[in-house]
Assembly symmetry: D2
Homo-oligomer: 319 residues x 4
């Protein structure tokens, strides 16, 4: 098969490393370069093969059909522009081009919701890890008008430490995280609130989101526990998702609560829904689990790349 040439900027972080692995195993992609500023000149083993990191300035952007930018928020936008100028399509994993951050956001690469807008796109904003889980979990309720107007959808979510990146920080050292658990960005102040609210409202829903993330002592995985006030009880709690996602290869519905173990190292989100007993207002408890580095970052980025390059969407992705 003729392979597309793809490059990775920011290849040594958690998402970048995962991207390297997915690209190396992808039947239709070839790795043009893996750039990593701080580790330029070093080598790393990924997926049983050696990857050599080049300096970003040495990356042959013009030789790439597509570039993944897995750079810190704020640092990505200029590199997206350089890659575009060199003629490459771009999947940007930072927040720089997302709704809620960018003044003119790029098409939002959450294929199960936004696929029609992605086919011809040249730049895609890859969603955040929490928004991927939460938006895929609530969209079927939002678009069907099942949510009480003006209601607050509440989300308590927990993420493994890889969500915080690989840059050394004292509070993320093993000795500080093991046997601990904490909330952060308490009071609805996380960057992802704006991203999720913007997308939720673009679906026509008049809702507020109240989001509290937590740090788990695990390496990878996100579980979002979501409560949704309904206009009326649902006879079959999973019906909206079944209707919305019938044939989606990367969405799994479950009658049992999903766990991290169900989803790690796979490009899926797994969703269950449960009526809340003993409360006056009809309320649904929705659970969504995904691997923050796969469906929440690198896997979804490859899914978007497949769409941009006209490859079969599921190709090269572990489902």
């Amino acid at each position: 098969m003729n392979k597309y040439s793809v490059g990775i900027l920011g290849a040594s972080g958690y998402a970048g490393r995962e991207l390297c692995g997915l690209v190396l195993r992808h039947p239709a992609l070839a790795l043009a370069f893996a750039a990593a500023n701080e580790r330029r000149g070093e080598r790393a083993r990924v997926a049983g093969r050696e990857v050599a990191f080049v300096a970003p300035d040495d990356a042959r952007l013009d030789a790439a059909d597509l570039v993944f930018t897995a750079l810190p928020h704020g640092a990505a936008a200029p590199w997206v522009a350089r890659a575009r100028a060199a003629g490459a399509r771009v999947v940007d994993l930072s927040a720089d081009l997302r709704p809620g951050s960018a003044s003119e956001p790029a098409p939002y690469g959450l294929p199960e919701l936004t696929r029609p807008t992605l086919a011809g796109a040249e730049v895609v904003a890859n969603p955040g890890c929490y928004p991927t889980a939460i938006l895929l979990a609530i969209a079927p309720l939002l678009v069907r008008g099942l949510v009480e107007p003006g209601a607050t959808i509440q989300v308590a979510a927990a993420s493994g430490v890889s969500g915080a990146g690989l840059a050394p920080r004292a509070e993320l050292m093993f000795g500080e995280v093991t046997e601990d658990y904490r909330a952060y960005a308490v009071g609805n102040t996380h960057r992802h609130v704006a991203e999720m609210t913007a997308v939720a409202r673009s679906l026509g829903a008049d809702v507020d989101l109240l989001f509290t993330p937590h740090l788990l002592p695990v390496a990878r995985g996100i579980l979002a526990t979501i409560t949704v006030p309904l206009v009326a009880p649902l006879a079959d709690p999973l019906a909206p998702w079944r209707e919305a996602y019938g044939a989606e290869p990367f969405i799994e519905l479950s009658t049992e609560p999903p766990t991290l173990r169900d989803v790690v190292r796979r490009n899926v989100v797994r969703i269950s829904a449960h009526a809340a007993a003993g409360v006056r207002r009809p309320t649904l408890v929705v659970l969504a689990a995904l691997d923050n580095l796969v469906k929440g970052a690198a896997g979804q980025a490859v899914q978007n790349a497949n769409l941009l390059l006209g490859i079969e969407e599921p190709m090269g992705l572990p489902a």
Copy 2:
């Protein structure tokens, strides 16, 4: 000092083991017996000393001033009756005598809320681990009429595995729990919902509770993330707790979110409160952390025992 003689029924489980340690280090208590049916005849090291487990039928109930019953739910009530008949006061750690479970509940041993009812009591129902955290966290709002009437208070809480006890179960083996995280009793079905709702309403509050517990890959500790719709915003989010708990030795208020590490091995609950930004209805995010085996079980049981025996309430407790 003349010591009170206390016995423990169910001494080999997590709560029982913790009780043994607290009693052995307590300046005013002497361990009369430690009974454990399945491990009768065995010895265990606790707090640097050896404890010998006797069969429950061999326990000298009549020689004890007070008996702790740390038995499975359903199995405790008959032993409470036997201990009472033998003349001992009882602190029962099971759900058998708690509001929400018992038809005629015993006084509820949450001293910071119910101290006046405990002084003369002969039997006390020691609260569940989640209810201790959650009720102490929301009571100051409830009793001050600060909660929107008819509202749903939502709780997403996470507990270490010791909350599930020491009886071997495949799903609690290390290999199954490490790197995983899951919700359980989803849909507001946990036993503690009835306990918490009964106590919350006894405080005069017209609220629903929606509670989703989760299993954490840590040994001990609970963090409850609670959202409370308010009648009006609070100028000083921590003021209700400061007023309610000013001098309490086992309640800590914090402007930073509490973590498990702040509270493990200590008989405290640590609470913070944060106004939620970006939502239309005034809402408070309240966080409460405690050690499920100490303030959530054995420590609180000793606190109750101190009250029943007329000892200084904080004696022998790690604050």
Copy 3:
């Protein structure tokens, strides 16, 4: 491709579950049955597919070209006989047919050492997890006569908890294993000592083995730290392994010490060797890491099955 039909007895344990996954993804094998006595009638998700467990007595042994017996030590031998009587080839993962346990051991399925004896075999004894790591690590020294005659080869090895199986035991619960580490079978009493000594001596080496295993708070993986007194220093410490294993697909040599992370979920053993400084007798420190459920159990079992069935040896195995 025409597929071979294979069955699994003992499919619900850790090794059995791993076998199910490998068989389901194997291009030349089809799963005839997955038998599990205690979980008969239940279903489990493995490798993204559902597996239904049948009772062992209902397993169609006669419909299988090959049967894997992943049963407890002592329980396997009769089932090996039944499978043989039904005409199936057998790869037995228990100790029942191994050297050191069986009076008439079956051919020992450690292909990198014993491949010539396996091609025509109808029953193979799949090695233990520790012996796989340790024998592959020391064999190149033994067969080259590089080890001091009469010397004691010392091994301190550490294993994740899946090595102890999935049957619930109090001491393997998460709350008991997390943040702990312990030696077991201290004093050279582990069952694997006899297995390793028998094989080591069959290679013509006059050595003793002194083996101390430890339990690690991880799910999977073994690291063996081995010291070998040499007849003379080696100019190039890795040379014996390079010579012995040049083209082996499942053996990796490394100048850096291998870690669990290098090998989990892969059918490899990774080996490094280092001269010991500052000691009078020339001594080599050899490190070997593998995944106890893959190269240490199910992966190696499939490698052996491939040999018995005349399939390419590496087929279906994650390297």
Copy 4:
């Protein structure tokens, strides 16, 4: 009680933090200052109290009866000199003054072996964490002439991550350490080899040490697995330790292998000894466990401080 005034240089690292807690709870010590260069001006909660970090240059060395220097190796010696010049006694936790590192080592503060040399001392070199465990474990054999002359004593030891300090490093992040295990300083190259060999030979023993440390995915604790070739088998394997340490408050002997759980947060080393079966040369397997931050660092430092100040040696230490 009149309290001695003590200061801590390097108070914000793991050992320094532990020292702060021990000093704050010590009945005969008062904390004069806690200096921490990088965190000067910050506050931290330790042992339920707030500690304010000052800059080292602002520390009132002249106001301290004793100073603990918990500084990086190489940085400690000048501060020891400044504290001495200011009239303070010093317990130095770095390697700078230890045998094997220093040309003129200070008295070695391993009280159970070197107590007579410490009473009048003004500076003490606090031993390393591994040497404390290993030397206390082998000394009774060495001084009794029970070890085969010229033999190699082999040690495979494993330590929790706090042994590596709190300075952020990518390879010590939670996501890199969880579910992993690795050897380091392989080939007998760890700094502690020189320290242990120097002390072992000072006890008159003609032995080599071969030491391989490993990094455990736990926060704290060390387990050393030691094999010792003997001149002759021992009828009672624990007898040498019983004779040597009969009344020592901080040494525990055990017939069962010690585990990390037995020793964490306590100022003890716990030791067991087991004859090796099935090897020609009589060999003992000795296991020793301690908490690297307590008996392996801060606890032992306080034990030494008690000796230097003429306080009862066990005062303020959790046994």
